[in-house]
Symmetry: C2
């Protein structure tokens, strides 16, 4: 599995990804899932991918070939992020079309998704989620994050801490906690984690971080977070129970009336 996360705030973008892939639990590998296609000073383009690895790699390869062959249409020539999302979606459709029949007949899941974050000179910074079918949506201030892959474990911390107005630096901390929570609860998501932070209107991805297993900072953050949670937990008020000291009516049983009648 995979977990990739994109966060957009008023002042920037954060994109983060784990690097574990698996075909069943007995074939686990490490692959980079966060890719920087920026042209410093002109356009910031960061991509992350989840889903069928053969599909996402082929999509990336096709886009690289366009870059290498200096094709008329590529990640470096398209005029805005919307067109880039459409272009990536088009590549996904192309790769899907060329493989679907063979994958379908063996019931192989060929779904894949991309997160695309960035900014091209002349427009604001944006964050897209591009579906396997090639269509896409963008994050908005009301819901300033998008996730792909194994999304559920890492969502509660985002729901509690994120909003569009926090700093990109704070958003990066949210992202790390979200990845770490996911990794702790699901063995199919694992380090190294890659993360980038992009400051709006800089057209330059200045902040990168990679956390390998046992990275001292990652260990420190996890320890800090677990201690903080435990302290918060210990300070939490006790539950107010309805004490029923003798013969509690079996009211929680759907048979309560009839069971009682029979006694």
């Amino acid at each position: 599995m995979t977990y990739c996360l994109g966060i957009i705030t008023r002042t920037g973008l954060v994109m983060a990804a784990d690097s574990r892939t698996n075909a069943g639990v007995d074939y686990i590998s490490t692959y980079q899932k966060l890719f920087d296609f920026s042209v410093p000073g002109e356009r910031a383009i960061i991509l992350s991918s989840a889903g069928n690895l053969a599909m996402t790699q082929e999509v990336l390869t096709l886009m690289q070939r366009d870059l290498k062959g200096q094709a008329e249409i590529s990640l470096h020539t398209l005029p805005n992020m919307y067109e880039i999302a459409r272009y990536i979606g088009g590549k996904m459709r192309q790769v899907t079309d060329s493989n679907r029949q063979w994958l379908q007949q063996d019931q192989i899941d060929y779904q894949c998704t991309f997160l695309l974050g960035g900014q091209i000179r002349g427009e604001g910074h944006v964050l897209y989620l591009i579906y396997s079918q090639g269509n896409f949506l963008h994050a908005t201030p009301e819901t300033p994050f998008l996730q792909i892959g194994e999304t559920k474990y890492g969502k509660p911390i985002l729901d509690r801490t994120l909003n569009y107005e926090i700093s990109a630096t704070a958003a990066a901390k949210c992202a790390l906690l979200s990845l770490d929570s996911t990794m702790k609860s699901n063995i199919s998501v694992g380090p190294p984690f890659s993360m980038v932070m992009y400051e709006a209107d800089s057209f330059l991805v200045k902040h990168r971080a990679e956390f390998v297993l046992g990275d001292p900072f990652l260990v420190k953050v996890r320890k800090f977070w677990e201690t903080s949670l435990r302290q918060a937990f210990e300070a939490m008020p006790d539950i107010q129970w309805h004490e029923k000291l003798e013969h509690p009516a079996p009211m929680d049983s759907p048979a309560s009336e009839s069971v009682r009648d029979d006694r």
Copy 2:
């Protein structure tokens, strides 16, 4: 959807459930999912259910009929919890067999699961998860909780705070946070929440709680938890970035070498 959670600790059991069911997002209802079949002083039996509601209701009805008809074999006559788990599994198989053909031909998901917690005089307290197929497993000190339904959102908080040696009172707080996290992140899980706490060797379910939407205690706990998380979050050390101030090598791109060659 549904979220039910059982926790076993050295000194007791906690069982908790939400009460939301849905058939699609446009048909949401409230159903009790936590049932107490205890015989005070002799046996504590608490059940919770997830999955296809018609299936779980029929399983419960069959068990109630055995109780009402004073059948030789019932939740109140079986000699130990293992036999009770087998009995419930048997009812699930029976209900599945009598419906499978009609549900399968319309591709309806008829899976359901039960959590069974309790204790019968003469043996220790136990927690079982009974699968749709009628087989089951029990929780152990290494992994002292079992979940059914929408399990992922509520797992990180358990992974960070729970262990077998904490008090049942603390386990109940974990359970409430786990339910609340799930509810916050997934609209298909919702209040009222039901919860019971059972003290080992008491053979009496003394502690019950129900939290309706807007329950002052639930509101207080949520506010407390969110404030605590935010404070912890603000105190968290900043990420140590690798600052790359000019022309970052596009090393994160799989095309990095070739792209660079072309420039």
